[in-house]
Amino acid sequence: MTGFRSVPVPAGSEATVSFNGRELAARAGEPLAATLLANGVRTVASGVYTDRPRGIVGLGTEEPCGYVRVDSPPIESMAQATRVETHDGLCARSLNGYARLPEGEEAPRGDRVWAHCDVLVVGAGPAGIAAATAAARAGARVILACDAPQPGGGLAGEWDAAEGTAAREWQEPRIAALRDEPELRLLTRTTVTGLYDHGEVVALERRPHAAASGGAVHRLWHIRAGRTVLATGSCERPIVFEGNDRPGVMLAGAAVGYARRHGVLAGQRAVVFGCHDEALWAAVALHEAGATIVAVADARPAPGPAPVAALYERGIGVLTASGVTRTTGGSGGVLSAATVAPIDSDGNATGEGRSFPCDLLAVSGGHDPATALAAHSGGRKRWSPEHAAFLPDQTPPGVRLAGAAAGTRNPAAARDQGERVGHAAAVEALAHESATDGAEVADDGAAAPVVGSGHTPPMALWTVADARTDERRAFVDLHRDATLADIRDAIGAGMTSIEHIKRYTTIGTGPDQGRTSGVPATGIVAGLLDRTMDEVGGTGSRPPWVPIPLTAVAGRELGELFDPARRTPMHDWHVAQGAVFEDVGQWKRPRYFPREGEDMRAALQRECRAARESVGALDASTLGKIMVEGRDAGTFLDRIYANNFSTLRPGRCRYGVMCTADGMVLDDGVAVRLSDTQYMCTTTSGNADTVRAWLEEWAQTEWPELCVHITDVTDHWATISVVGPRSRDVMARLAPREDLSAEGFAFMTYRDTTVLGVPARILRVSFTGELTFEVNVPAWYGRAIWEAVMAAGHPYGITPYGTEGMHLLRAEKGFIVVGHETDGTVTPVDVGLGWAVSKRKDFVGKRSLWRPDTAREDRQQLVGLMPEDGDHVVAEGAQLVAERPGSVPVSMQGHVTSSYLSPALGRSFALGLLSQGRERHGDRVYAVHLDEAVPVTVTDPVFYDKEGSRRDG
């Protein structure tokens, strides 16, 4: 037993947790790391790439080694022990190597929250509390985000007993007052993970207590802040020496933090090593908490007199110009002794070392302002020799820093700075409507950070070594197991950029984002290359600042809520009939309606035969329907479609195709002229949104002088296609008074009438070549009319068919489907729609059809393809090549776009795009897919009823 509690667990807070199957006494709410230290658990995990034992190093998000897996809800496959809150029944174990996702267990729930504020303050240490209070009192709506369970975190000031006490006395009433500010929202356990453009901030809130009730254990906040104050504190920096990774080697500030905040001493016999006054104050604090201080080493020849005097009073001497050269491992490789030797200003030993037995080595190389969030949106930093740290230089618009994040290490100065910055942020936020106005951030006079009066300057120290140092055991990044030797290798391989060295060595690429390794790596590289810190610079910092579980990102957008599902009015009928569905855009469409014992092929053959020989019915409600209305509707459509629509007489329908400006097919469909000023344009099912936006774009941005109104009415209507030679008989039963004859109700006309008393718009169009009545009724009546159609068709064996049958039937007629036969590189001429391209008028994209590329003679053109083996259905997407299998080289000349087994033809057939295809009817080409090359004969793309004799029944 090495660690212990200097403050007993208060009555009522006792908890028992399980770690690696061992029961440990805990104080409910303390971090698991504190429990482990208090119970003498020194080895928490092993390295990711090595099996070296690793213990707790830090206190919070900077922890590089102490990763665990939490098995009790909420399950976490990878968590820092410093950030797992204990509660009775917590069950965790060591995470050795990589994390594995839990299998067969329900993922924790997440939620997302959106919020706006005038001022966001990140961090609730002295500077953050002061900034939030000042901003709220200036009248701003404030959000204060605090990573810890309670505000008041900051370590600044904890090292100096007198200043620390003063800080707490200042802080406590203000924390209580935060809750009384009406426009201040305090978010605890909430870590800001990224700063983005225009004041957007993402934060992750942890709600571990919600797991028990099945609530969301994470909330991902999306906050728009007018101004942001970063009071994110600093991150303590380790020093690199041989064996610096042993359990028992810890950041000095973390060791003090466990003692002061949690009443836990990480060891009984401590060596303290640093290069600045705060490390010496840490020795004072550890001694005060009850540890025996075995040795104190300061790399500076002349440490600050105040902490040296405080230590002297306690009977503790300071070894000056000295440092730890290596550690010694005891049982299980954990720390048993530290060797302290005299060193020069570069950390090289100048004399023999002396070994001090110890179970805690508290190390501190300095403090790096936590400025990563500022860097996310473009902030820069520069090296300050006075602070021996990178300080924020340029901050992004709307962002300010205060306290230790700005380099201020004196609690009173941090409070003053926080107050000034918070007030200025509020004034500015209230004066501007948003952060997008591009206003320059005014200088608030808080630029100069205060080190702390009367303190002796810190020293920059990266490594300590002697002649015997094994650099392969001197770790720079404890999470990535990357060492001093790795950096030397990278430089030896010719790398000089810190970004290259980072990727070569993997330093800083772990989930801790190199909190404790980034600046030491820069320092080491600067030394090896003989460059300044600014010349080497730091690596870029990107969101997220702490890992975000994907379950939190997903939130509730799972399953049914992932994407809206659109269902037609007849959907439930299809479900009851056992339809197999497919997704078409957001629509759920029946693909086919299998009967008992039928597979898709059998169902498809039956459904298509019914449509060709008797009567079939298709739920075509998903067909896009866009109303184009207004005085200039005809002119507008003339400019959009390749063909003419202003000449279409009211009451008639016309097939149209539209192109993008580069002349490629965008969509096709039938448009109906309802009156002089009204058209209803139909679109491909998955394309209605695209076409609507396309029409709106041209109407608004190019021809605002045209009077047109565009409305998507797709789901106002339910559409039933009654298809086949007996469809007229079915319709006669539904609308007995209508003249349904070929002469009385001609092909490509429509009629507004009633069906069973329901208003109906019936179109005589055909997508199969068969006699077809497309019945449109208001959506509310869709199910009733569908059932009426099925009843009326019963004597004729009416057969519902789905998208698969629809595709097969149209392919037999050589009708294209946008997205099958076209892919954005295909012109109307390519797919045989040259007849629809108006010779007389201009339209969007027409000029492009005469570009050298679109006029090329070897363009791929729509053809029919007959496999020589009529039982073989070639794969859609198969490449078309002219060469016999086995010959090289092979020229790819096109591909198969649609392929089916046709009941009408009694064989397989396909459509495809083939270079110069229209001139190659009769040629043999090969459809190549995976290992097969199928010989196919090139044909005309119309396979069935070339004369069009069936459309009138």
């Binding site: 473009g378 952060a435 997008t436 591009g438 492009s848």
Partner: protein, 93 residues
């Protein structure tokens, strides 16, 4: 995520919009007066400045209106917006 000032709806999240590329590239008055090179230039070639750029945004999930926005492509600062066709304040560095 950008905050785009829609001239009709006010500042809204970028996710509500669709990007429309460079603003003020009019469909040529008479496409047939352009030779193939000039037509290809209209179709395929756009400015790509580092700095202030007038660009089009379509408020898809809002008012479904197009607008022009002046944005600095290097910093994402936005200087202003205007309905398509209206004059948009030029910004030059």
């Amino acid at each position: 995520m950008l905050l785009i000032p829609c001239p009709w709806c006010g500042p809204r999240d970028e996710a509500e919009f669709r990007y429309g590329g460079q603003a003020r590239v009019a469909y040529p008055e008479d496409p047939w007066a352009l030779d193939d090179t000039a037509w290809a230039e209209y179709l395929f070639v756009r400015d790509n400045p580092e700095g202030w750029f007038a660009e089009r945004w379509f408020h898809t999930a809002g008012c479904r209106r197009w607008c022009d926005v002046m944005r600095d492509t290097a910093t994402n600062r936005v200087a202003g917006s205007a309905p398509t066709g209206a004059s948009l304040t030029e910004v030059t560095k």
